[in-house]
Amino acid sequence: MMRDTILTLMNEAAETTGAELQPTIDKNTVLLESGLDSLGFAILVARLEEELGYDPFSLMDEPVYPRTFGEFVAIYERFAPE
């Protein structure tokens, strides 16, 4: 499950940066309020690229800025290789 992979690596990025994640993260959680800072997100995207083999943000023609956790997961699902 994409959602679980992302959550696992969010926790890892939080562990690396010493951030405190919100106790529950669901599809409506606003990313900027999730607990990760910009360094945390940079690490998350880089780790996801390592694990999944792609970085959707470098694949998209028009830049999309996800606002919620649900949108973030949807972007990764949309760009997943067939």
Binding site: A13, G18, A19, L39, A46
Partner: protein
């Protein structure tokens, strides 16, 4: 000793133990001397480092006879050889035979540095009684500064010199063990690889030298543990300056009292400046140093910084911390390009056997979080089998790496 040729120096240094071993072949040095009489004068002689026997015979034959000896490391291809020969031919001749060594050149074309045999041998140990007890192993390319130092120390110091053949480090180590090598010089990176080989303790080492990269406390401690009776020293040398110094107290860095004199001082950029007795000008080594009340520590290269969102970091700073963590055999830290932050700190880690990636990485994250601020902690940890080293035995440091 300015005009004393290599032949003459070797002749004077012969002891009953003087010997050259290449692979499984043993050569008598007195016979080598007799067989390689000085030939006619020539301008420039190119001397490839392999086969090792030919390399040493050419040095004996041409020092004093040729104007310039161009020493070619094994990795020099035909194109680079031509380039170096052109560089060499363009250099003005001097009264003595010039020994031309190429810099290890981590970036760009290698540069030729002209040495005299006098300057190359100025710091050798000449006590032949002690020298006769040593059997030196050569793991460096003899056409590079560090390797040539081993060759000259062994041959001009009355010792045996053992040059292993073959590519695999395990095979080379076995040849050193078979030849009862008891003195060995290598980079800290290469020592960490040797420490992972089961046979290392079979070497009857009495003299251990580390050089070419800054030496960390952990590697010194591991060597001390393996070889409690060996004399361990780490040396700092510069191909450009042709000088260096060695530290034998078993501690990383060097005493602060060695700084601020005629040959060593701190620059405004916090780098180490060196001056040899033969030069008037100070040479900026580009090596960053930190000075505490009693010790000077190397901090990496001035141009090797990783930039994370505008914050700058020396990879060696994190590397030395990682090497102290349980289960870590070696580590290489570098900047991985990242669109959001410019770079992220990435670390390749070699695990010691019997440790799991999950446990070690978790412990590393926790230890780094307690020690450093968030942006300094390795964001990307990767397990690797081996850390690549250059032909000179140093970790290959890149200014930038692409995400692959």
């Amino acid at each position: 000793m300015t005009n004393t040729s290599f032949r003459a120096q070797l002749q004077q240094a012969l002891t009953p133990q003087s010997q050259l071993v290449t692979g499984v072949n043993q050569h008598n040095l007195a016979e080598l001397l007799a067989a390689n009489l000085v030939t006619e004068n020539t301008e420039l002689v190119s001397i490839p480092s392999q086969p090792a026997l030919d390399f040493i015979q050419s040095l004996l034959r041409y020092d004093g006879a040729a104007s310039k000896l161009l020493l070619l490391p094994a990795t020099t291809d035909a194109e680079l050889t031509t380039q170096l020969q052109q560089q060499a031919a363009a250099l003005p001749t001097k009264a003595h035979t010039q020994w031309l060594l190429a810099t290890s050149g981590t970036t760009g074309t290698p540069k030729l540095i002209s040495h005299s045999l006098h300057s190359l041998t100025a710091q050798l140990q000449r006590n032949l009684t002690k020298g006769a007890e040593l059997r030196w192993g050569l793991l460096y390319d003899p056409a590079r500064f560090a390797g040539l130092q081993v060759v000259l120390q062994a041959l001009c110091g009355g010792s045996a010199l053992v040059i292993p053949t073959g590519e695999s480090l395990t095979d080379q180590l076995q040849q050193l063990i078979d030849a009862q090598v008891n003195a060995l010089s290598a980079t800290p990176s290469l020592w960490r690889k040797l420490l992972m080989l089961p046979g290392l303790s079979d070497l009857p080492l009495r003299q251990i030298t580390l050089g070419g990269e800054s030496t960390d406390q952990q590697t010194l401690n591991a060597l001390k543990q393996h070889f409690p009776r060996a004399k361990i020293r780490h040396i700092y040398a510069s191909t450009e300056a042709g000088v260096g110094f060695s530290v034998a107290d078993g501690l990383a860095g060097f005493p602060a009292s060695w700084l601020n004199n005629k040959t060593r001082k701190l620059s405004a950029d916090s780098t180490l400046l060196l001056r040899s007795s033969e030069q008037d000008q100070w040479l900026d080594t580009g090596d960053l140093i930190a000075v505490t009340s009693d010790r000077v520590y190397f901090q990496g290269r001035l141009n090797g910084t990783i930039n994370v969102g505008g914050n700058k970091l020396q990879p060696e700073f994190i590397e030395s911390f990682l090497l102290q963590q349980s289960g870590v055999a070696d580590a290489y830290v570098y900047g991985q390009p990242n669109k959001m932050m410019g770079n992220l700190v990435a670390a390749d880690v070699v695990l010691q056997s019997g440790h799991t990636k999950e446990a070690v990485f978790k412990a590393i994250r926790e230890a780094c979080r307690n020690q450093f601020t968030a942006w300094q902690c390795p964001a990307l940890l990767r397990q690797v089998d081996d850390i690549k080293t250059s032909p000179a035995g140093k970790k290959i440091r890149q200014q930038a790496r692409t995400t692959e």
